[in-house]
């Protein structure tokens, strides 16, 4: 039998030295923002029951989860997302807590991606959950936290905001089957204008069809709102648009200019999101690194009604970019114990140097010439010998 002893499973990797410092650096920056906004850290288990994610509202497909069974044969999964576990936790363990609660997490999520696409199956995510509040204040607090997190880690980023009710309201008034509506949603999400037009051409041409046709092209700055208000007639959708415009205007006070984009074609995971949606991008990486919004509906699963919003940031991708800026950590001094009886003396001496703020390392090689060679190869400037 061929044994896979020397490789890691597809979609996973080892993190070494600079890669770790970069991850830690990025995490620290983000954690500071989260803590400044008074979010408090929680851990959830790596494994959860499959049932937690097996509903439409989770927006996660069954085939993208790593599954195994517990000792009673019940299906468990490596968590593909942290929001649902936290919602589970809040609805059970924190039911008597004073609301709203502000939680943040820093943990890995696992996705079983199609092979050979170069995607990571294990992603470190940091995110916040603001649970138990709804409305403009909560939405602005969460978006601002997201923007500040992006500012902390990148100079060149974009945050786009949209509203899930915009499409949902239009789709509700559309005279078409659910399958057709789902196709339309996918075409809007992919900005696939030609396929979208083909589907819409087959429907009765009314105001709704006209509005949906334009939806994917409605992204940019505040001119979007004017264009949209001319073509959208549906009252529900107009209400969502009005709300989004209000938020956008408030965010203008941050004077970030074109870093904040409106995208009315943001329709991803529309069974999951129930209000604002936002996504973050950084220069040099081809996919979104931040995604979030309002998802009040997830608490319906636990039979309690609560406002919930938040976002998650994929750390690995930003750390990838930050790692070249990090210096490799090479000690300044290597301490060598001449004889075995000098070992403890040498270790204490090393500790003294470290306490003085000098990067010193005790050499665990027993031969002096080996130790000198090691220091030379690594480029350690000073070599201290303890003992006669």
């Amino acid at each position: 039998m061929k044994r896979n002893l020397k490789i890691t499973p597809e979609g996973t990797k080892d993190y070494l030295f600079k890669e770790c410092t970069a991850v830690n650096y990025v995490c620290r920056k983000i954690q500071t923002v989260f803590e400044n906004h008074q979010f408090h850290q929680v851990f959830t288990p790596t494994f959860e029951y499959f049932d937690l994610f097996a509903n439409d509202a989770s927006g996660i497909t069954a085939e993208s989860m790593f599954k195994t069974t517990d000792n009673k044969g019940r299906i468990i999964v490596a968590r593909p997302d942290s929001t649902l576990p936290i919602a589970r936790m809040v609805s059970t363990r924190l039911q008597n807590e004073i609301l709203p609660v502000r939680l943040f997490y820093k943990q890995n999520v696992f996705r079983n991606n199609p092979s050979l696409t170069g995607r990571s199956n294990e992603i470190m995510q940091m995110g916040v959950e603001l649970i138990g509040s709804k409305g403009k204040r909560a939405d602005l607090e969460v978006i601002t936290t997201a923007i500040q997190s992006m500012q902390a880690i990148s100079n060149d980023f974009r945050i786009e905001i949209g509203h899930s009710m915009l499409f949902n309201a239009l789709a509700d008034s559309l005279k078409a089957s659910d399958d057709v509506k789902e196709n339309i949603r996918v075409y809007i999400e992919n900005k696939n204008y030609s396929a979208l037009n083909n589907v819409l051409d087959n429907l009765q041409q009314d105001e709704t069809v006209k509005a949906i046709r334009k939806l994917p092209s409605l992204f940019g700055s505040d001119e979007v709102f004017e264009k949209a208000s001319q073509i959208i007639k549906c009252e529900e959708a107009l209400k969502a648009l009005e709300y989004l415009k209000d938020l956008y205007n408030e965010l203008e006070s941050l004077t970030l200019g074109e870093k904040i984009i409106v995208d009315l074609g943001l329709v991803q995971r529309n069974d999951y999101y129930s209000g604002i949606i936002f996504t973050g991008y950084v220069q040099g990486y081809g996919d979104a690194i931040l995604s979030g919004g309002r998802y009040d509906k997830i608490f319906d699963i636990f039979d309690c009604s609560m406002g919930a919003s938040g976002f998650a940031i994929n750390i690995n991708h930003i750390a990838e970019q930050a790692k070249d800026k990090e210096k490799t950590n090479i000690p300044d001094v290597l301490v060598f114990a001449k004889n075995d009886c000098d070992i403890m003396k040498a270790i204490s001496y090393t500790n003294e140097l470290v306490n003085k703020g000098i990067k010193a390392q005790f050499s665990d090689l027993s031969d002096e010439s080996d130790a000198r060679e090691f220091a030379q190869k690594l480029g350690i400037a000073e070599f201290d010998v303890i003992g006669e």
Binding site: R158, Y193, S194, A195, G220, G284, G286, D287
Partner: protein
């Protein structure tokens, strides 16, 4: 500012795309005299062109190393996952079709049918939408051979003129979908470089009509 990088599908689509670029006034001399170079500047160095195999165009655009791509709808249907499909460029037109031997009643009987194809995903989706279980066999070369030698009941393949089918006594029994070249964009690029991409898109759209 870095030039926008566009991945083109080598061959016929490349030629038609370059013609289109020249029509909207971009200088494409470098592409005509490319020699062995793989990254070629066009226009006033506002753009650079990368030539790649069809499926690789999608890989490059998806990963974000190329901002835009020109690729056939056939490749998108078979390999596509997450990118924006902005424009139907109108050239490279053909279709996916289901074909079988002449006078063979494909839908008759309850036996599970076997389909030979170079496009297993397209085939699977097509029959899934019909709620039909089929056995799909992936073939790399001339798919037309499979029903003739008895490997498959039918084939799903790209049909342009239909002359290869006719010569082998095969006929189209159903169209799967129409195909043409598409302009695709990386998701992050469209957000980060919206103005440039939209301007190009507008120019191309005007040139097509």
């Amino acid at each position: 500012m870095k030039p926008l990088r566009i991945a083109l599908t080598k061959g016929r689509l490349e030629k038609s795309t370059i013609e289109l670029f020249e029509k909207i006034g971009y200088n494409c001399d470098e592409v005509h005299n490319k020699g062995r170079k793989l990254i070629l500047p066009i226009g006033n160095n506002d753009f650079e062109v990368v030539l790649a195999k069809a499926a690789d165009v999608i890989t490059y655009v998806e990963s974000g190393v190329c901002d835009l791509g020109v690729v056939g709808k056939d490749t998108i249907l078979e390999n596509g996952t997450s990118f924006y499909e902005l424009l139907d460029l109108g050239f490279g037109k053909c279709k996916f079709a289901l074909a079988c031997k002449k006078d063979y009643d494909f839908y008759h009987g309850y036996g599970t049918k076997t389909i030979a194809t170079k496009y297993p995903n397209v085939t699977r989706n097509f029959f899934e939408n019909k709620n039909m279980d089929v056995r799909v066999i992936k073939i790399e070369g001339s798919v037309e051979l499979a029903p003739l030698v008895g490997l498959a009941d039918g084939i799903v393949d790209i049909v342009e003129t239909g002359s290869t089918l006719k010569a082998n006594n095969l006929e189209v029994i159903e169209d799967v979908t129409n195909i043409s070249a598409r302009l695709i964009a990386n998701i992050a690029s469209l957000k980060l470089r919206k103005k440039e991409i939209e301007e190009l898109e507008r120019k191309l759209e005007a040139a097509i009509e």
